[in-house]
């Protein structure tokens, strides 16, 4: 020690002070989190972290979600809820990043099926007791847990009944003398008619790719009339080459591509861009799900558009076995509790409140934001879009229960979406598409 010069001693001292300082910083960090833990029972505030895929808090589902949160905070002044939101695709990616670092969120929005499966395998979401959610308080419709159940264990609750429809602009159809399509042939005719007038026939979020998957599943359903056919193919119980409905559906996608049914920029359009195209009256139709019911009451959209918004069922195939009432419906979006939560008890209280039939379900329906997965009462003041959507759901002869792209592994989802993206952006034949889909199934 004697040999150390002043400089060396000074540096050692500095290091020592720095390390003590950083240790102290860690210590105070721990201290604050312990006091947070205790605060649940006391008067001091508890802050819950809520992660959602609804960045627009002023209209539609985002408004409904925020309303429930505000209700809860009002009734429980000791609770503060920190809401973090991101748009759909960034949301999915950030949730995986949160999962990787075991971020202590309390409640998060989840996508049932493949996405949730990964969270379950990482132990990031808490198991729920389905018995607790039976009965009047929650009023869930039968069979809605399917995409949230893994190995017979429930990990989340659905927030909506999701089903694919075609939103259309009544004025554009009337002004151009185009018939609202009820068959696939008429859909192509409409596409051609609008193209001739220089109007984009149908808007779709091609950059996100998943709408292609829903459309393909819808077409297979229309040709085969069998809800389980495509799910069986993914389960490897049948092959894409074995049933000609698969080929017919792929051939129709080819016709869609050749007729340029989608907007010119469809491969670079994300969700928002495809929606804007439609809400600004630049596209005659939008292929999307029932969760967009809120467009009819969203005051941020032009009045003229809202009055001309209509909804139709996906058209039937002239030579197909499926009917208009076979509905591609599932429960995709929902909520789950995060296992690394710092306030599990407070989080559970809020979660149960959120999922009560008189909270999310009622708010979402009353504000016209979405069609809930729980029983709801008609109030009589529904928008026409809501009424039509209710009719479509109530009159459905069959429902699929799962979205095909989410039915397999995340890898399968990625592969099948890319296969469809490739098909739409090249001159690939329907047969090649089928073999690409089969490869995606085989490699999952």
């Amino acid at each position: 020690m004697k040999r150390y010069s002043k400089l060396a001693r000074a540096s050692i001292l500095t290091l020592a002070i720095a390390s003590v300082g950083s240790l102290a910083a860690c210590g105070s960090d721990n201290g604050s989190s312990t006091s947070d833990n205790n605060s649940g029972s006391g008067d001091s505030k508890v802050t819950l972290r809520f992660f959602s895929n609804l960045p627009d808090r002023k209209s539609g589902q985002g408004l409904a979600e925020q309303t429930v949160i505000d209700n809860y905070v009002k009734a429980n002044p000791n609770v503060k809820i920190d809401v973090e939101t991101l748009a759909e695709e960034p949301f999915k990616n950030k949730l995986k990043a949160y999962m990787s670092s075991n971020e202590p969120l309390d409640i998060t929005m989840v996508h049932g099926g493949a996405e949730l499966n990964t969270l379950v395998q990482a132990g990031y979401v808490t198991e729920l007791d389905p018995k607790q959610y039976e009965g009047e308080q929650y009023n869930f419709l039968p069979g809605v847990y399917k995409s949230f159940t893994f190995n017979d264990k429930l990990y989340g609750l659905p927030r909506n009944s999701d089903y694919e429809v075609i939103y259309y602009n009544k004025k554009l159809f009337a002004d151009n003398g185009v018939k609202v399509p009820t068959t696939l042939g008429e859909l192509l005719d409409a596409a051609k008619a609008f193209r001739d007038k220089g109007i984009a026939p149908m808007s779709i979020n091609g950059k996100d790719l998943w709408s292609f998957g829903e459309m393909y599943q819808n077409l297979v359903l229309r040709y085969s009339g069998n809800q389980n056919l495509i799910l069986d193919a993914i389960d490897k119980k049948t092959k894409f080459a074995d049933d000609e409905s698969f080929l017919k559906a792929a051939q129709f996608l080819g016709q869609v591509r050749d007729a340029k049914m989608f907007q010119d920029s469809f491969m670079t359009a994300d969700y928002g861009a495809s929606q804007n195209m439609f809400t600004q009256g630049k596209a005659a139709m939008w292929y999307m799900g029932s969760w967009e019911a809120g467009m009819a009451t969203n005051e941020a959209l032009p009045e003229e558009f809202r009055q001309n918004l209509g909804v139709v069922k996906f058209p039937v195939a002239e030579d197909g076995k499926g009917t208009l009432d076979d509905l591609l419906a599932w429960n995709g979006g929902g909520y789950a509790m995060v296992s690394s939560s710092k306030h599990p008890e407070e989080a559970k209280k809020f979660f149960d409140y959120l999922m009560s039939a008189n909270q999310w379900a009622k708010t979402a329906w009353d504000t016209g934001a979405a069609v809930p997965a729980q029983k709801y009462d008609l109030t009589g003041s529904e928008s026409e879009v809501q009424k039509t959507l209710t009719d479509i759901l109530v009159n459905a002869a069959s429902t699929s229960g799962a979205s095909a792209i989410d039915y397999g592994t995340p890898k399968f989802k990625d592969d099948i979406q890319n296969a469809l993206g490739k098909f739409f952006s090249s001159k690939q034949s329907p047969e090649d598409l089928l073999s690409a889909l089969q490869t995606a199934v085989d490699n999952q």
Binding site: K96, A114, T118, G206, K207, L209, N418, S425
Partner: protein
């Protein structure tokens, strides 16, 4: 002072914090990444099964998308070197010759793309190149060239070219800045002497400016290749690798495999190869440009 630097303990103590930081933020992640690349795990925290070299054999021998992504990244690197950098050098010389107020103004203008956020650049080009509302197609319409109209970023045939154009445009300012600094460092006397000897214009710059810029060029070549390989944000925000993989780049592919397809182990194998490719490219570009600095 001398005694301190002869003392091994002191040296160790000085170097230790830096080394520790380097190890924790650089070496450890690479090692962990290497470990995960031999597994088929879906994400950190999920079940880990060792699969040996499966990920690597799949990647190298059965994954066309990986090779496509690598090819595109290298194409971008070549685009930087062959298109962007000559233009940068040309403009650096022009700027230098301009002098006065105009030099300052243009210097600022050329650097603007570099201070704009990548998100803004991406969204801006998406709108400019939009097939229906975009300015480019409207311009083509205006001059009667509507046969040349395209969904620039949305068609497989034009997407990669458009993407390269955007990236070359966006990185132009940085390249210019480096070359401009290099040009400014060249003594005016040399040009005067050359002019006395009867050299002028293009020939003078080819024989004097470019050779004297060699050290800058050497650094820039390496940086260009690494930038190309690491390209991620603009692609992710505009096409996300589409349409149909036509603008797939290595970093975007890696990201999507890890976070969209939940193939975390596989993505880590890509990242290990990624590191190797980057090192290799750096080594090669260093080798190619390792001439002794020209001195006058």
């Amino acid at each position: 002072m001398h005694r301190v630097f002869r003392n091994k303990t002191a040296i160790f103590l000085f170097v230790a914090p830096g080394m520790l930081l380097f190890a924790l933020t650089f070496l450890v992640p690479i090692i962990v990444s290497g470990y995960y690349s031999f597994t088929d795990t879906l994400a950190p925290g999920t079940k880990v099964t060792m699969v040996g070299f499966d990920n690597y054999t799949n990647l190298l021998f059965h994954d066309e998308r990986f090779w496509l992504a690598l090819r595109n990244a290298l194409l971008l690197g070549i685009g930087f070197i062959v298109i962007q950098h000559p233009i940068c050098i040309f403009f650096a010389i022009l700027l230098d010759r301009l002098g006065g107020k105009a030099e300052k103004i243009f210097r600022t203008i050329f650097f603007i793309p570099c201070v704009i956020s990548v998100v803004v650049i991406s969204k801006m080009w998406l709108s400019l190149l939009d097939p229906t509302f975009g300015m480019l197609n409207k311009l083509l319409d205006l001059v009667g060239l509507d046969s040349l109209k395209h969904a620039w970023l949305g068609e497989s045939s034009t997407a990669l070219g458009s993407m390269l154009f955007i990236l070359i445009w966006a990185g132009f300012g940085w390249g210019l800045l480096f070359y401009y600094a290099g040009v400014k460092g060249i003594s005016e006397d040399l040009y005067e002497a050359a002019q006395l000897d009867g050299a002028s214009g293009f020939r003078m710059h080819l024989k004097i400016t470019v050779p004297l810029l060699k050290p800058v060029i050497a650094v820039q070549l390496t940086l260009a290749i690494i930038t190309a390989l690491k390209q991620m944000e603009t692609v992710f925000l505009t096409t996300n690798g589409g349409p149909g993989d036509s603008t797939q780049f290595l970093a975007v592919y890696l990201y999507n495999k890890a976070f969209s397809a939940s193939q975390y182990g596989y993505a880590n194998a890509i990242s290990v190869l990624f590191v190797i490719v980057c090192l290799l490219a750096t080594y090669l570009s260093n080798r190619l440009t390792r001439n002794d600095a020209t001195d006058f």
